[in-house]
């Protein structure tokens, strides 16, 4: 009998494993990630959850995996050596780059452009040309490709990315080039084409997307192949499924071919967990708020679904959630629309030359960590401030595995209080508030900046530090409900099990009117990748539309039912997003299709909990109470209705219920904070 599903999230510090069965979460494990061989940590966690639940490996019917492997390969430049093949005249396309200079880069005479994602000497030009309509202006000569193949072979590269001009309009030349390269280079070399990975207009972003797919593909393939084999060796036989950036999952085989689609797999899983927690608590519109040690990630979920973006930047920077265009490597495949800011528990607080208090972006990390860890760090962090404020306790941090030192935290915070000329608690509270402001800016990016009014949303808080800050961040936006799900410390791994199989396709094909045949082709390709019979494939279509003469498009759903008018929807969205009521001739630029194959999912419930104990008490500092005040500390298990100021603590996290807020547990094990009217 297959009654269990395994969710595995390999993160930078921890590998989280969740085993779920018919009654919800059966066991969770948090083990240190093993960077030299990530599968080792996974196997360790899997053994632990199976033992904890007394489950046999043969009872596992599904394995879903999220990993930062692809992201880290890009960020740390640990992918394979890739040769880039493009149209004659464009060999400098990637070396020259398309970076923006934002904020302080603007005034920095010593600014250096980001290093190109591929060395110039690994870029090759093929004589050939297709025009914007797909017409061949100069045919490709296979002999030219063979000559290039010989040069590539001499370099010892492991993968080739082929991206020719206008191949989105006519892939024939890319097909020829790829075929000849495969013939010449043999099966050991991965060959990826832009028309296969992401056939959308604009050569630079298509080239980086193709290049990144080639760059991380062999790494992912090797890792997933190894992991599958080792799971089989312990008796877990289902094919491993991998989370993709857009919130669906795909088979490990497909993840190898379309590796670029897995780059944001970890954060996407967290957003899905938040969507599911919101759904269970009766909220279809939620803001997912995940605050860890170094960063906080925020995502908007509307109608139970995370918002999707069609371009993100790996390794970007700037105030726009780390995704400001032009500051990283652009990836065009769909991804859950997240904003990420460098504010977490470990973020260091400091006073700048002008006497202003700042928090982050530098983090004390896990070594030496916040001052209160007592591992030798002396710099004040958000965690130190939270300890000084009494939001955290010295005992019971990180599941009781670590004791925090209040004196060290106080000493560190005093380093801020002196130059600011304020008291210790005022300084600590300012650090807490600045961290909240930074996270507020991430909320702002994904709501207000997208034309979404955050009032009326609930916030779902998870990650080690999220529940201590969530209510205060929510207040800034007039959000009156905060949901802290059970297993919030391993939220992303839980989210993996709330997923369906899905894949995305795009094609740029400019025209005045949409051509339904393009949708059919894309849907058929997607369904084939998922091995889904037509009856099981759910197909969602959308169009990138713009007013004729403009250069930027808006993606609008394309329904086939009666009365569905994509143009009316476009006019409505245009007004909503830009505040301009306008009508006029429109043009279609690209077609998008998402194909989903539903999967049976276990309920997302907490394991049965221990009996409640009596509340403790401790002093915590709130501006509303005029400073330190004695507050109750409740255990999460068996929580009744409590009135803030109060603290709710369990092994996984500490929830701060500020003055003006109430908290209560619901039947699914969520703690729900509500702001009093």
């Amino acid at each position: 009998m297959h009654e269990y599903a395994l969710g595995v999230d390999v993160g930078g510090t921890f590998t989280d494993v969740v085993l779920s069965g018919g009654n919800g979460v059966a066991a969770v494990a948090k083990v240190l990630s093993t960077h030299h061989d990530p599968a080792e940590g996974v196997l360790d966690g899997v053994r632990r959850v199976l033992a904890a639940a007394s489950a046999a490996p043969g009872e596992v019917g599904r394995v879903v995996h999220a990993t930062t492997l692809a992201t880290n390969a890009v960020l740390e430049r640990r992918g394979v050596r890739v040769a880039f093949v493009t149209t004659l005249g464009f060999g400098d396309l990637l070396p020259l780059g398309r970076y923006a200079r934002v904020e302080e880069d603007r005034y920095d005479l010593r600014f250096d452009p980001p290093a190109p994602p591929v060395a110039r000497e690994d870029c090759f030009e093929v004589p050939e040309r297709v025009d914007a309509s797909g017409r061949v202006l100069r045919a490709v000569d296979p002999d030219d490709v063979r000559r290039i193949a010989r040069e590539i072979a001499a370099r010892g590269v492991e993968a080739v990315a082929v991206c020719l001009l206008h191949a989105y309009a006519n892939p024939a030349h890319e097909t020829v080039v790829a075929r000849v390269l495969r013939e010449e280079l043999g099966p050991e070399v991965t060959v990826v084409t832009g028309s296969d990975v992401w056939p959308e207009v604009r050569e630079y972003e298509r080239a980086t997307t193709t290049l990144m797919s080639a760059y991380v593909g062999p790494v992912m393939e090797a890792y997933l192949g190894g992991l599958s084999a080792r799971l089989r060796a312990v008796g877990i036989t289902p094919r491993v499924q991998v989370m993709e950036s857009g919130g669906g999952v795909m088979s490990a085989e497909l993840a190898g071919r379309r590796a670029v689609a897995t780059i944001e797999s970890g954060p996407a899983a967290g957003a899905l967990a938040a969507a599911e927690a919101g759904r269970q608590a009766g909220f279809a519109d939620v803001i997912s708020f995940d605050m860890g040690g170094t960063t906080a990630k925020v995502c908007v979920i509307q109608g139970g679904r995370p918002r999707i973006t069609h371009e993100f930047h790996v390794g970007g920077k700037g105030s726009f959630g780390g995704r400001r265009a032009g500051t990283g490597v652009p990836i065009k495949t769909p991804a859950i629309d997240l904003a990420e800011v460098g504010a977490g528990g470990g973020s260091v607080a400091w006073v700048d030359d002008g006497g202003t208090l700042k928090v982050g972006p530098r983090s004390a990390g896990s070594s030496p960590g916040p001052a209160c860890y007592g591992l030798g760090g002396g710099e004040p962090t958000v965690t130190d401030a939270n300890l000084v404020l009494g939001y955290l306790a010295e005992e019971g941090f990180a599941g009781g595995s670590m004791r925090l030192d209040r004196l060290l935290a106080e000493k560190a915070v005093d380093r801020l209080a002196a130059p600011l000329g304020v008291g210790r608690e005022d300084a600590a509270h300012a650090v807490h508030e600045i961290a909240n402001a930074a996270m507020g800016s991430a909320v702002h990016v994904v709501t207000v900046q997208r034309g979404i009014d955050p009032r009326g949303f609930a916030m779902v808080a998870f990650g080690g530090a999220g529940p201590a800050h969530a209510a205060r961040v929510a207040e800034r936006f007039g959000i009156g409900t905060v949901i802290v799900p059970p297993s919030c410390g391993v939220g992303s791994a839980v989210g993996l099990l709330a997923t369906d199989l899905s894949t995305d396709r795009v094609r740029t094909r400019p025209s005045a009117e949409p051509d339904p045949a393009v949708f059919e082709e894309l849907a058929a390709e997607g369904a084939a990748d998922l091995e889904a019979p037509p009856s099981e494939a759910i197909v969602e279509r959308s169009l990138d539309l713009r007013f004729r003469g403009q250069a930027h498009e808006i993606t609008v759903p394309y329904g086939e039912g009666p009365g569905e008018d994509f143009r009316e929807e476009f006019f409505r969205l245009y007004e909503q997003v830009y505040g301009i009521r306008q009508r006029g001739p429109t043009e279609v630029v690209s077609y998008r299709v998402r194909v989903t194959r539903p999967v049976d999912k276990p309920p997302q419930k907490a394991p049965a909990s221990a009996a409640p104990g009596p509340p403790g008490r401790r002093r915590a500092w709130f501006p509303e109470t005029g400073g330190h005040t004695e507050v109750p500390v409740h255990r999460r298990a068996g929580l009744g209705r409590v009135t803030g100021p109060a603290i709710v603590a369990d092994a996984e996290s500490t929830i701060v219920v500020p003055p003006g807020w109430d908290a209560a547990a619901d039947e699914n094990g969520n703690v729900v904070l509500a702001r009093r009217a």
């Binding site: 400098d92 398309r98 923006a100 105030s319 208090l357 600011l420 403009q550």
Partner: protein, 560 residues
């Protein structure tokens, strides 16, 4: 600072920048002007009722930020605060009253607090067309501003009821692309509305007095940081000059910008006395643009993280002699203002490089704007620029083909595919030019070459500089290689165009070639270490011949 450790100021700083940022996003994504939609960003700023710059969007160049700031008091002279009503929007493009040139529309929306105007939100872009000698707003051979396009004094552009029909009619009548220009105007107006809504929300959150105090704190804080950074520079007076190739009409006569930068404690005076007089040609600049150049250049020698607002300006005294190239009077054309202000920036860079040799930068190739347009209606136009190579920095090579002046990035250069989809041309290549970076211990950045092959007859307009007088190196470094604009005939022959040329007819089958100038080097190229020379050779940045002859590298036979 207020008693909360600057907390409110810091939070407000984020919120105000975000408000401006949102406005710029709306403008970029809903505009029609080809100049901005495929490349450059829109500018957006928040000012107070006195015209002080409080915040600007992150992509706003200082040129545009200064224009919005300098022009606002002129607007208020014509239309007093008391005459403004909620929902009103105002515009101008008058170069002699803070504007830039006729194609850049400055748009302002007053933000009311308790019934009075307290702030303005402002946006500006280069609109698709407002008349003048050539489509898209470049008139490199204009001898009077009247040839550059429609001039707009400060006027009310819109009320709560919508855009003023009379103004719309005037704009439409003066544009080759009336629908697009009105699309741009709607985008600009919408941008100011978005930022105004954000600002009103901040007033609600912090209260009118709280916001005002937060703004003062934030400006004071910026001033303090700026003064501290200036105090770190060595006191003294440093002089320099930089030439402009020619005015486009008399091709053998250079015009010179001269500067004396005096650092005295926490203040800096930038005095352009001695700069050559304005000319009846398009190489003059308006006050706001020259001010921006001076401020930008000085800022490049301070902490780059200092926010850009009025507080930053207080420590700087910029003197622009009236009637000079940097402070033009009517009717001297101002459309080519980047030419004199880039010379002004380079002169300040040179002076401060002498003051702080560890921060020195050699002169750079600059952006080379051009337009390609249909010869007759219906109008299509491609208006763009390519960047020259940046000068070497002490301790570092110069970046290739990017904008050092005003800190522009290569994301403002359009991609080939959308341009080919829109215009009857083929972009044949975009490449760097080997050996174009000035040799030196630290090499100048490379220039680029772009080739446009025409599928239909087209008119080409160019506006180049540093195409006759090469950007010099420093301390023994060599100058960058000169670029140029060329016609390539169907048989491959190259014919050099004047750097500033207007509506040159190209026939279908001919190609237009844009080569940009490389940056100057620093130090003797013979002192460049062999591994760096070999890396350049491998990356195709220098030729084998230059490696041997200029850098003195001994190559084994048979090496790459």
């Amino acid at each position: 600072m207020s008693g909360d450790g600057g907390l409110t100021a810091e939070v407000l700083r984020h919120a105000l920048v975000v408000a401006a940022e949102e406005a710029s996003i709306v403008v970029v994504r809903s505009a029609y002007s080809t100049f901005i939609v495929e490349g450059s960003d829109a500018s957006a700023a928040i000012l107070d009722a006195r015209g002080r710059l409080i915040a600007q969007s992150m992509a706003t160049t200082l040129m545009n930020g200064m224009a919005l700031s300098v022009a606002l008091p002129h607007l208020l002279e014509e239309i007093p605060l008391a005459a403004m009503r909620p929902g009103d929007v105002y515009t101008l493009n008058d170069a002699y009253r803070g504007g830039v040139h006729t194609n850049d529309l400055l748009v302002y929306r007053p933000v009311f607090v308790a019934g009075e105007v307290a702030y303005f939100t402002a946006t500006m872009i280069h609109v698709s067309d407002l008349g003048g000698l050539s489509a898209g707003g470049m008139a490199p051979l204009a001898t009077e501003i009247f040839l550059e396009g429609l001039q707009l004094p400060p006027v009310r552009l819109a009320t709560a009821e919508g855009i003023e029909p009379a103004i719309a009619a005037i704009l439409r009548a003066n544009s080759r692309t009336p629908d697009k220009v009105m699309g741009d105007v709607r985008a600009l107006v919408a941008g100011t509305a978005v930022a105004a809504a954000r600002l009103s929300a901040l007033v609600e959150t912090y209260g009118a007095a709280g916001l005002a105090r937060g703004v003062e704190d934030y400006l004071d804080h910026t001033e303090a940081r700026m003064r501290m950074a200036l105090a770190a520079l060595p006191d003294g007076t440093y002089t320099a000059s930089y030439p402009i190739d020619d005015d486009g009409i008399h091709l053998d006569r250079a015009h010179v910008v001269r500067v004396a930068v005096t650092i005295a404690g926490e203040g800096v005076t930038v005095d352009f006395a001695g700069t050559d007089p304005q000319v009846p040609a398009a190489i003059n600049a308006s006050v706001s643009q020259s001010l921006a150049a001076a401020v930008f250049a000085v800022r490049c020698f301070t902490d780059p993280a200092i926010p850009m607002n009025d507080g930053c300006l207080r420590a700087l005294d910029v003197r622009l002699p009236p009637g000079s190239l940097l402070n033009a009077t009517s009717p001297h054309p101002c459309g080519g203002r980047f030419v004199p202000i880039y010379a002004a920036m380079e002169a300040v860079f040179t002076a401060l490089s002498d003051a702080v040799p560890s921060m020195a930068i050699a002169a750079s190739g600059i952006l080379q704007p051009f337009s390609i347009a249909s010869v007759a209606p219906p109008y299509w136009i491609h208006l763009s620029y390519d960047f020259g190579g940046v000068g070497a920095r002490h301790g570092k090579d110069g970046p290739d083909a990017t904008g050092v002046h005003f800190g522009l990035g290569r994301n403002s250069v359009p991609q080939a595919e959308p341009v080919e989809a829109r215009c009857p041309l083929i972009v044949e290549s975009v490449s760097v030019i080997p050996d174009s970076g000035g040799p030196g211990r630290w090499r100048g950045g490379l220039g680029s070459r772009t080739v446009f092959r025409f599928l239909a007859d087209a008119c080409v307009t160019t506006r180049g500089d540093r195409l006759r007088l090469a950007p010099p190196g420093r301390a023994g470094g060599h100058p960058g290689r000169l670029g140029g604009f060329y016609r390539m005939t169907a048989d491959g022959a190259l014919e050099r165009l004047p750097a500033k040329s207007n509506n040159v007819l190209f026939r279908a089958g001919e190609a237009f070639v844009v080569e940009t100038t490389g940056g100057g080097g620093i130090g003797d190229p013979l002192d460049r270490p062999a591994p760096e020379i070999l890396a350049d050779l491998k990356a195709g940045k220098i030729t084998r011949r230059a490696a041997q002859e200029t850098y003195g590298l001994t190559l084994d036979t048979g090496a790459p």
